[in-house]
């Protein structure tokens, strides 16, 4: 297991897809902060002005969570699809599976490294978000007040979970269709469109009798978890349920992908 983790890390530490994603994630956070800063200082005729204090360090966790979902989740799907799908297009699966460690051991190493990368992406999100908030508060001559460490930890954990479960969705689809391109398309369209339409349809059925089904979808629970952390109003799914459902999705994707890798022929 340690050997496969070492191999996967060696393979992925300088992987262009991860490096580019890290840069993109950082750029998205900067863009969100700078856009909001501009809108806060130039409210104009806006119906929903952004208070400048929302961009200060004590609020940075909420700001980062908003930047991380759904854009960060979409990026995680893309990364998951690339990580798993490229093994098929490059034919490297046969190289990996003929070295000695069993298929599930090799698979486990990949998952460990992927989840580590999701932690790195989460850390980049939080670090860049914190830096942006410090810049804004400093320019505006206010004192730097950080949120409680526990709040930062909760936010970081939630972001990691959301990125990881979405990344696993990308991995599972890529293993299922044995390629990256289709997996990226399916995964991103699911996240940004299909799920939203499906939930809206289910919630409207029979005066909302089947809303509980809609509450089992991935995006619904990610949104609810972020809502709870940022004290948003109108969140109907409890924090506990959102955590349970997200972990259930994670486990389901892991089992499906691992099962397919284990039993299918490598042709």
């Amino acid at each position: 297991m340690i050997a496969t983790i070492k191999a996967e890390w060696r393979k992925n530490r300088f992987r262009p897809a991860f490096l580019i994603s890290s840069g993109l994630v950082a750029a998205v956070v900067v863009l969100v902060f700078m856009t909001n800063w501009y809108q806060a200082t130039h409210p104009g005729q806006s119906d929903r002005p952004i208070p400048l204090a929302m961009l200060f360090p004590d609020q940075f966790v909420n700001d980062v969570m908003g930047a991380g979902f759904p854009l960060g989740a979409a990026m995680a799907i893309v990364l998951g699809a690339i990580v798993a799908g490229s093994e098929y297009s490059w034919g490297t699966l046969k190289t990996l599976f003929t070295q000695g460690p069993g298929r599930l051991t090799t698979w486990s190493g990949r998952i460990v490294v992927f989840t580590a990368w999701m932690a790195i992406l989460s850390a980049i999100l939080f670090a860049v978000g914190a830096a942006c908030s410090v810049l804004i508060v400093t320019v505006n001559n206010h004192a730097i007040v950080w949120p409680a460490v526990a709040d930062i930890a909760k936010g970081f954990g939630a972001m990691w979970l959301i990125l990881t479960v979405n990344g696993m969705l990308g991995i599972a689809i890529a293993v299922l269709v044995r390629q990256s391109a289709a997996a990226i398309g399916i995964g991103v369209v699911y996240l940004l469109s299909i799920e939203i339409i499906a939930v809206r349809f289910i919630d409207g059925l029979n005066n909302g009798s089947y809303k509980w089904i809609g509450n089992l979808f991935l995006g619904q629970n990610a949104t609810a978890l972020i809502g709870h952390l940022s004290n948003a109003k109108g969140v109907t799914i409890s924090a506990e349920q959102s955590l349970i459902v997200l972990f259930a999705w994670l486990a389901a994707m892991l089992v499906i992908a691992a099962g397919l890798q284990r039993v299918r022929d490598v042709t």
Partner: protein, 302 residues
Amino acid sequence: MENTTIVETHGLTKRYGSGVLAVDSVAMSVRRGEVYGFLGPNGAGKTTTLRMLVGLIRPTSGTATVAGHTPGDPHGLARVGSLIESSAFYPYLSGRANLRVVADLAGVDQKRVNEVLDVVELSSRAHRKFGTYSTGMKQRLGVAAALLKDPDLLILDEPTNGLDPQGMAEMRRLIKDIGQGNRTVLLSSHLLGEVEQICDRVGVISNGKLVRESTVQELIGEEGVLVRAQPLDKAEQMLATLFGNDAISRQDGALHLKVKPEQSSEINRRLVGAGIGVSELRPFERSLEEVFFQLTGERQGS
């Protein structure tokens, strides 16, 4: 007592869901220390068989033992190096970095990476990204990866595919070098000259079935006599009486007899005595190519 065979299959069969029978009851045995050629035309089932031997494909039925274990067993794979079809590595990593990844997976000391790069003469270009390698360099890196574990058994599937004549010659030399000593090499190819030059024994597969397994010498060295005579039908009839129908075949207007060349004078005397004009009578030795075409039913030059 140590087992003398390193690969043994019994009734190994692979049928795909579409109903295609890719490999049909193959029973092959590869002995320790030999260079075994696995011959067959394209699509005969060579690669499917080899993929089953390294555990990439599960057989539909039958059994296989590779290095004392079932295919795909981690203990067995630890003693088997393989290059199945073309070499496959990460294009954004250098040749050396790719080997380091493989070394990690195989549990091999990283020092071994430079050693195998030297063996395949790729050290000077090991820093370049795999995606920029020529076909020959890619194949050599594949062989290097297969050698990392210092394996008892090396399985090479069409290692000269896509190489130019010089690259093929270099790869042949490399395989010959690798095959010396106690290491066993299982080499799949449809290039007969390659196999004839390198291999001790061969297995010939056609339409998924193993149609012959023997030493190269046994295969090509079946002695015979070629007879060109007039009238040919009468000559054939007479020789069939002498040696039996199974010993005679007609090819290109001549008769091929599976008899010892020392019998030539006797054949000549009999034919002439029967009033048959003999225009050519000589011993012949078949090439591996001829044997291959005969066994696989493929037509030469087709």
